[in-house]
């Protein structure tokens, strides 16, 4: 099983295989899985599963066939299990609407938008009357730094489309050679001023009218599970993100006026290449072209402004 003698310890990408213990006396089995998290750290997940025996009635013919011996080519090899693999990844049944909208642009955005708003209004009303259970799952932890990534609050100046941002900013700063923003940041919208009742599902529905959504992250208080009033919505395509941005900026949603902005580059990028917008329109690029020390300074500033976001 083991490869080269030195491999196991030296290879940073090595992950021990999934281990599954037998069922113990209390009917509990333990599954140990290894994975890398977003920060590139190796994580070990231990899951304990209670196993129930379920009696199933099968016909006599089926029971008889259970005893059949392997034959043909299957009898010639000792290991028939190698022809049967259990998929490592979970396959979900996807709703076709998501993929359909990626294929064909919705013809009338405002109509479907209205529809979505109407549905949300109705659902909220139902929720208040207690007719509908709170079907929302706890926020998944797939974006641990989600809150931090947002960076500074208002960018101050007028809105510059993401594609033009870099160029405009670079021009202002005297033509730096910094790379354009990564696609992930150009499709990620930070939404603030959301009412507390809004769920991730509501946001998905609202933004889903513009195109295929990659991920919705609604910031919640880890203890109270109350919404903190802001969220991140990532689209799969830049054009969709921009349309959503144009259409929903200042849109009245559940009695509050939505405020949208493109998410700032993540903290990791900021630390590496400089960046992370401070207050002021051209902050983004001046950080990118400036020296390392300045980038660090702005980094801390960003954290401060994030903290101020919290109290707002």
């Amino acid at each position: 099983m083991r490869g080269n003698w030195g491999d196991e310890d030296d290879d940073p990408d090595y992950l021990p295989p999934r281990q599954e213990s037998g069922v113990d006396g209390k009917g509990i089995k333990t599954v140990v899985e290894w994975a890398f998290n977003d920060a590139g750290q190796k994580t070990k997940t231990t899951t304990k599963v209670k196993v129930f025996a379920e009696q199933q009635r099968i016909s006599r013919a089926v029971a008889e066939r259970k005893k059949w011996k392997v034959f043909g080519a299957a009898a010639e090899v000792s290991d028939n299990h190698s022809y049967t693999l259990t998929s490592q990844e979970q396959v979900m049944m996807e709703t076709p609407r998501e993929s359909k909208e990626a294929d064909e642009q919705p013809s009338n955005v405002s109509d479907s938008l209205k529809e979505a708003m109407e549905r949300v209004r109705r659902r909220n009303a139902m929720r208040q009357m207690g007719m509908l259970g709170d079907g929302e799952a706890a926020p998944t932890d797939d974006e641990p730094g989600g809150g931090l990534r947002g960076g500074g609050g208002a960018e101050g100046g007028k809105y510059i489309p993401p594609g033009a941002r870099w160029a405009a900013a670079a021009g202002g700063a005297g033509g730096g050679d910094a790379p354009p923003m990564p696609l992930e940041d150009r499709t990620k919208i930070r939404v603030t001023n959301i009412s507390e009742d809004t769920t991730e599902g509501d946001l998905r529905e609202l933004f889903g009218t513009f195109g295929r959504i990659h991920r919705v992250y609604l910031a919640k208080d880890p203890e109270t599970m109350q919404s903190r009033g802001f969220a991140f919505v990532s689209f799969t395509s830049e054009a969709d993100a921009e349309r959503a941005m144009n259409k929903l900026q200042g849109y009245g949603y559940d009695h509050l006026i939505l405020k949208l902005e493109f998410a700032k580059p993540s903290q990791r990028d900021a630390a590496g290449g400089g960046g992370g917008g401070g207050p002021g329109g051209g902050g983004l690029s001046s950080a990118r072209v400036s020296g390392y020390g300045q980038a660090l300074a702005q980094d801390t500033k960003e954290r401060v402004s994030f903290a101020s976001n919290l109290t707002r």
Binding site: I58, S59, A61, V62, R65, K66, W68, V70, F71, G72, A73, A74, A75, N80, H81, Y83, T84, L85, T86, S87, E89, Q90, V91, M92, M93, E94, T95, P96, S99, D103, D111, E115, R119
Partner: protein
């Protein structure tokens, strides 16, 4: 779902079927070796060695004792399911595209394609269950010759074995009398080749799928088109869910054009449609070639798909799907307010 991948075929999968009890899965591919698997664990149970050409279709007798395979080597073979032994080989005059046991297993029908000067045939063979298979006649008890070298893609028995339904590459379904061989009726539900037909468990509904990008649900008796399920790619396989009002469609770009289409638009998913509202509600991804074959367990708890990529994926449905109640028409109405013509039939 955590699908189980079955990988022993070396070429594109052509056919996947369950036996009547739903504990065995039989698969056939363009390699020459049909294979049987255990439906619960996906363990390979055995292979049927003997054909020298692609195997196009399989049919398992109701009691899971015998298996029939239709092959491009111009034979149909009768196999002992348990031992993998080839008991009878039925010679044909061209590649055999389809084979089907009659209800009760006293006879079967096969469809061979035109070859050289010979036209295609639909042939009926007698397989009385009180006679040992070694005594079976290898000569067809009735042969129906297909004019104009037209290609038959699938043959099925209607309820009570009173008629034979045959689909053709010109998009027609023809109905034959199995006793006289007479052509009873012809209907043309599709404009392009019909790739497969599937009868519901009670044999009252016929689902056809075609290269014209649609699947259609027909009354198995009158062949009247009841429902249409449009997609945007050729449909190669379709099954009706045995316990829910759902249908599953599989397909994708032709193998030929896969390299010239973008990876995202391959559309190799299994698609789930509501049978009555004709609305697509789910997709399951996984294959990286067009799906050629679909089969659903008679208990409705698992299904199997085989594709051009040579993989068979065995899916056990999540509890969530099994317990899911179909949306009520009210809600559908709300969704489709703008499309008044697509309102579902409230009376079903």
């Amino acid at each position: 779902m955590r699908p189980i991948l079955l990988k022993s075929h070396e070429r594109a999968i052509t056919c996947v079927i369950y036996n009547a009890d739903g504990d065995l899965v039989f698969t056939a591919a363009k390699d020459n070796v049909p294979t049987v698997w255990r439906a619960d664990t996906g363990e390979r149970l055995g292979t049927y060695i003997g054909h020298s050409g692609a195997v196009w279709e399989l049919s398992c007798r109701w009691d899971s004792k015998y298996l029939l395979s239709a092959s491009a080597d111009a034979t149909v073979r009768l196999w002992d399911v348990q031992t993998g032994e080839s008991l009878v080989s039925y010679p044909h005059r061209g590649p055999v595209r389809s084979v089907c046991w009659a209800e009760g297993g006293q006879k079967f029908v096969s469809a061979s394609q035109p070859f050289m000067d010979s036209p295609g045939f639909i042939s009926i063979y007698d397989t009385p269950s009180d006679v040992d298979p070694s005594q079976y006649q290898q000569v067809a008890s009735r042969e129906i010759s297909i004019p104009n070298k037209e290609k038959c893609t699938e043959v099925l028995w209607s309820a009570l074995n009173d008629r034979i339904l045959a689909s053709f590459e010109d998009g027609t379904i023809r109905v034959f009398d199995p006793e006289t061989g007479e052509l009873l009726s012809t209907s043309t539900p599709h404009s392009k080749p019909i790739s497969r037909m599937y009868l519901s468990t009670d044999r009252t509904l016929l689902l056809t799928c075609s290269k014209d990008y649609t699947a259609k649900l027909l009354d198995a008796d009158t062949l009247e088109v009841l429902k249409v399920y449009p997609t945007e790619r050729p449909v190669n396989a379709a099954v009706i869910h045995p316990t829910k009002d759902h249908i599953l469609l599989g397909g994708g770009q032709d193998a030929m054009s896969v390299t010239t289409t973008g990876s995202r638009v391959g559309k190799f998913e299994t698609r789930f449609y509501h049978m009555i509202y004709e609305e697509e509600f789910g997709r399951v991804k996984g294959h990286f070639g067009p799906i050629n074959a679909l089969a659903i367990n008679p208990d409705g708890l698992s299904y199997c798909s085989g594709a051009e990529d040579g993989y068979i994926r065995l899916h056990h449905f999540d509890r969530e799907y099994v317990d899911k109640q179909d949306e009520v028409p009210d809600e559908l109405e709300e969704l489709d307010e703008t499309e008044a013509d697509q309102k579902p039939d409230l009376e079903e």
